[in-house]
Assembly symmetry: C2
Homo-oligomer: 522 residues x 2
C-alpha cells in the first residue's frame, strides 16, 4: 500500500484555506498514493479554542467534510484527516477516512489531554477505543495524538487485527519533545510488533509552534522516514529517507522564526519594526525576523537617551548592517526633557520607565503610521523577573524570545554566527548586559548572574520546586527567595505581555497559569 | 443540630491567612455551633490555578490541615472545610469534616467543571459518589459545588440515609447566577425531600468575584435563610433570616467594587489613580473606586489636549467634587508638540493614539512615583470593538468595567444617582460619548449606536451566534459583519488588557478563549 505523510500547515479557523490545502495535496499525490494521511484537526487548524463552542463553526466544518467527499468522487486515493465531529449532540476530536464516495465511521480520540497547553476536556467528549478501519483489505489502526501515548489503544487495535498503526497529531514543539515522541512510538511498536506512521501538524499558532518532524517506524521500531522540522513536507512511506538531526539551538531558532512568520502570515501582516539597543536580545530578535520575513520587511529604530553609550549605538548600527536591515536614529532626549520639565518630580524608577515608555511610544507611532508590527524583545529570564517596563519595552504584537532564557539567547547567537556568517557582532556577545536607563547600570546590579538565575528559574518554573528544594540544589537562600518573590510579583506584567513561541516544557501563559493575587510565599 | 454557615473571604495561596480565618470563625462560634460549614477550597482560596501543580504547595496544605486538627482538640464544635487532598498520588477537590481529634474520610468532588472559567480537570481526579458522613448521630449529605448541579449525587446520598444536604461552593458571580443556583438547589430538595445548606465563598480573585449569597432551604424547598452578597457573613441555620433582594444594577456595582477592593488588598496595594475625562466610563470607575477604597485613596488626573472641550473639563471637575476625590490637571499639549516636532509625519490614527498614550505615560509615571495603581476604564463594548488605545487608555492594573456593556454603564450610573445621591453629573449621562481625540469626534462616527451594538455583541459573545443567525435577530447585514470583524481583530488588544471582574456569563479572557490568529470569518 502506498501511504503518503502530509505534514501541512493549516490556519486556525480558516476552513476555506484548509479545505483547499487538503485538496491540493490530495490532487498532487493522487496518482502515487493509496492513502494520504493528514494531521489531527487539519480541517480547523489546532487549537481552535472556543471557536468549537460556536454551533455555526461546527456546521461549517461539516459542510467542508461534505465538500471533500464531493471532490474525492473521481480520485483513486483516499485521505485520512482530523476534524471535529458532532454525534448525538456530543463533540469528538476525530479522524475521518474519506475513500471515494464513502466516509468510514469516525475514529474518535479517547485520551483527551487537559494539561500543559491543552484544554481538550473543555471541548470534546472522549471516544471509546475503536476497532481498526478496513481500508481496501488492509486493517489500519488509527490513533488521534494522545491516544498513541498510552499502551491501551494500540493494544486494542492490535488485538482486533490492525496491520499498521497510524497516528494523527497536533503536537507543539518544546525542547526535547521530538525524542519523547519517538520513544513513545517505539514503545507502541515494541508492544504490538506493528509499523507506525506519525504525522504531525507544522506551523505557528499564537504562542504555539508545531514542528512537524513526522516520522515512520518499521515493525522492528527502526526509523525509516523522517519529515523536515518547521516546514511543510509531504513524503511517501515507501521512498522515505531520513532528515539530518539538528542541534537544540537550531531547533529553537527555527521554532522562533516559524512562530513569528506564521503569526504575521495568519494575522495578515507583513512588516515588523523593533528598537535596536546594541544589546544581545534585540540583535537576536532582528536576526529571527530577517530569517522569518526577509530583511526588506524588518525595520529598526535606535532611540538613544543620555545614558546610551556610543558603544551601544555602534553595536546596533553594525548589527543592522550585517543583517542588511534599515535603521533610523530617533533620540528621545527632547521628549524626556519636555516631560520632566512639565513634571519635574519624575525620578528613580519612574525616570527609567519614562525612557522605556517613550521608546515604546515612538515605535507604536511608527507602527500606526506604517502598518508594521512592533516586536518586543524581552527574554524569559527578564519576563520571569519583571525586568522590563510595562508599556515600554514590553510593547509589541509578538515576542520571539518570550520563552528563551538569557543564557540560551547567547548560545543561539553563537550557533547563528558559526553557521550563518557572523551576523551578531562579537562585542554584543561579550559586553555585560545593561538596560542603560541610568548611569553605569548593569543587569547584574539588580539580578543574580544569568548563569545562576536561569538555573534557579528552571527549578522554580519547569521543575515546580519549592524554595527549600531549590536551595538544596546548591543556591544561596536569600538569592532563591529573592528570585521566587520577583517571579511571583511580576505575574501582572506577564499577563499583559504579547504572545511568543513556546520553547520550554513550561512556557508562561497558556502553559503556566498562575494567579496574580497570590498569597503563597513561593 | 446547630449549624453555622461561614461565608468567608480567603486569599488564594495565603495558607497562613486562611488558616487563621478559619480558626477565628471557629473560635468565635464554637460555643453556639455544633458544625461550622466553610466554602469549597477555603484553605487555598479559589481558584489556586497552577499552584496546585507545586508539590510543596500540596504539602503545605496538608500541614495546615494537621494544624487545624491540633486547634480543634479542645473545641466542642466541628468544622467542615474545603481543601485539596492527595491520595495515592492523585489530587482531589475535597470536603473535610474535622471533629475533635478526628478527620472524617474526605468527601471528594465527583463532577469536575471544566468549562467557562473552570479548569478543574486540569488539576483534580474525580471522586466516586460517596456516602453520608455520620456526624454525632446525624447523617450529613455533603456535596462539593458542581456535585449539587446534577441529580445523581444528592440521590445517592438520600438513598444512603442522608438527613440533610450540605453544599460547599466556590461559585463566581455573573448576572442571573443567584437565581440559577437557587433553582438547582430547589430541584435537589424536591427530588430528595431533604433540607439543603449552600455555603459560597465571597471575595474577588483576579478576574472573578465570588458573591457569597449563601442560603438554606427547608425540606419543602423554601428559602429560610440568606447571607449577604459581596460581604463576609456568618449565619446560624436556626436563627437565619432573609436578606432583601437587590437590583441587577446594584449587584453589578457591588461585584465591580468588591473585585477592585480585593484585587488591591490581595496584592497589597492601597491607592489608585485614573484619568478623569468628563465621560461616563471614568466617572463610574471613580465612583466604584471610592466605594471600594474610600475617597482618600482615589486620585484623578485630567489631561486635556487641544481637542478636549471646556464642557468635558467642567464635567470631570464636578464629578471629582461630588465624589470627594482629589484631582489635578496635566495638559499634554507640550508633549504632543515636542513629539510631533521631532516626528512631523504623525497624523490620523497615530496622532489620536499618541494623545491617548501620552496620557497613559503621565498616569504610569505618577503610579511609579506614588505607588498608586492605575485603573483603566474601557467598558465591554469598547473592549469588544478594540475602541481603545493599547498602551494608552488601556494602561492599568485593573479595569472595573471590563465586562460591563456601555448601556449597562448608564443604567448603573442612574441607579447610583437614585440611591446614593447624585454622584454622577447629569451632563455626563446625557451628552453623546466621545473620545475627543480629533475635532468633533463622536463614538457613533465609528460604531453603531450602543443600544444596537450591545445587543449584537450579546448575540455574538454570550449567545455564540454566527453572523447569519445574528442578522436574523433583526439587524442590518453590513452592521453585523462589521461588528463581528472588529470583535475578531481586537483579540490581540484584549490579550494585553488588565484583568477586570467577570459580570456576564461570558467574560473575555478566562471565560472566552479565542485565538488571535483566527481565520474564521465570524
Amino acid at each position: 500500500m502506498r501511504l503518503t505523510l502530509a505534514q501541512v500547515n493549516p490556519i486556525v479557523g480558516d476552513l476555506d484555506y484548509n479545505l483547499e490545502l487538503i485538496d491540493r495535496v490530495w490532487s498532487d499525490h493522487d496518482a502515487t498514493s493509496d492513502l494520504i494521511i493528514f494531521p489531527e484537526m487539519v480541517l480547523t487548524g489546532y487549537p481552535p479554542e472556543d471557536l468549537l463552542h460556536k454551533p455555526s463553526f461546527i456546521e461549517d466544518c461539516q459542510k467542508k467534510i461534505e465538500a471533500l467527499l464531493d471532490r474525492g468522487t473521481n480520485r483513486s486515493s483516499a485521505i485520512l484527516i482530523g476534524a471535529p465531529v458532532m454525534q448525538n449532540g456530543l463533540l469528538y476530536n476525530a479522524a475521518l477516512l474519506i475513500d471515494g464516495k464513502t466516509i468510514h465511521k469516525p475514529v474518535t480520540k479517547h485520551h483527551l489531554p487537559n494539561y500543559g497547553v491543552f484544554d481538550e476536556k473543555r471541548y470534546f467528549t472522549a471516544g471509546s477505543p475503536h476497532d481498526p478501519i478496513d481500508f481496501r483489505g488492509t486493517k489500519l489502526g488509527v490513533m488521534v495524538c494522545e491516544d498513541m501515548w498510552f499502551p491501551n489503544i494500540a493494544e486494542h487495535l492490535k488485538e482486533n487485527g490492525a496491520q499498521i498503526l497510524i497516528s494523527l497529531n497536533g503536537s507543539p514543539f518544546e525542547t526535547g519533545k521530538q525524542s519523547t515522541r519517538l520513544l513513545q512510538a517505539k514503545f507502541r511498536t515494541a508492544e504490538t510488533g506493528l509499523p507506525l506512521i506519525y504525522v504531525n501538524q507544522v506551523g505557528g499558532q499564537d504562542d504555539l509552534v508545531f514542528d512537524g518532524a513526522s516520522f515512520a517506524l518499521n515493525a522492528q521500531g527502526e526509523v525509516i522516514l523522517t519529515c523536515k522540522s518547521f516546514e511543510e513536507d509531504i513524503k511517501s512511506y515507501l521512498s522515505g529517507h531520513l532528515e539530518p538531526s539538528s542541534s537544540s539551538e537550531e531547533l529553537i531558532f527555527k521554532a522562533a522564526s516559524l512562530g513569528l512568520k506564521d503569526y504575521m502570515r495568519k494575522t495578515h501582516q507583513k512588516k515588523v519594526l523593533l528598537g535596536l539597543s546594541g544589546g544581545v536580545d534585540s540583535a537576536l530578535v532582528a536576526a529571527i525576523a530577517v530569517d522569518a520575513l526577509g530583511s526588506e520587511n524588518v525595520h529598526t529604530v535606535m532611540m538613544p537617551s543620555d545614558f546610551t553609550s556610543q558603544e551601544s549605538l555602534e553595536d546596533a548600527k553594525e548589527c543592522a548592517k550585517r543583517l542588511g536591515i534599515s535603521y533610523e536614529i530617533v533620540a528621545i532626549k527632547n521628549m524626556v526633557e519636555t516631560f520632566t520639565k512639565d513634571q519635574p518630580d519624575t525620578s528613580g524608577l519612574a525616570h527609567e520607565n519614562l525612557q522605556s515608555r517613550l521608546r515604546g511610544l515612538v515605535l507604536m507611532t511608527r507602527s500606526n503610521m506604517t502598518g508594521a508590527m512592533v516586536l518586543s524583545t524581552g527574554n524569559k529570564s527578564e519576563m520571569a523577573m519583571g525586568y522590563a517596563t510595562l508599556y515600554g519595552d514590553m510593547c509589541g504584537g509578538y515576542n520571539p524570545l518570550k520563552d528563551i532564557y538569557k543564557t540560551q539567547v547567547y548560545k543561539i547567537c553563537d550557533w547563528l554566527n558559526k553557521t550563518r556568517g557572523n551576523l551578531i557582532p562579537d562585542n554584543v556577545l561579550t559586553k555585560a548586559p545593561s538596560a542603560e536607563l541610568r548611569p553605569n547600570q548593569k543587569d547584574q546590579d539588580s539580578l543574580p548572574p544569568y548563569e545562576t538565575l536561569d538555573v534557579i528559574l528552571h527549578c522554580l518554573i519547569e521543575q515546580d520546586l519549592g524554595i527549600a528544594d531549590t536551595i538544596k540544589v546548591g543556591f544561596d537562600k536569600s538569592t532563591v527567595e529573592k528570585v521566587a518573590r520577583l517571579l511571583k510579583i511580576a505575574q501582572y506584567k506577564r499577563n499583559q505581555s504579547p504572545p511568543g513561541p513556546k520553547i520550554t516544557p513550561r512556557a508562561f501563559a497558556r502553559d503556566r497559569r498562575y494567579p496574580i493575587a497570590n498569597g503563597y510565599k513561593e
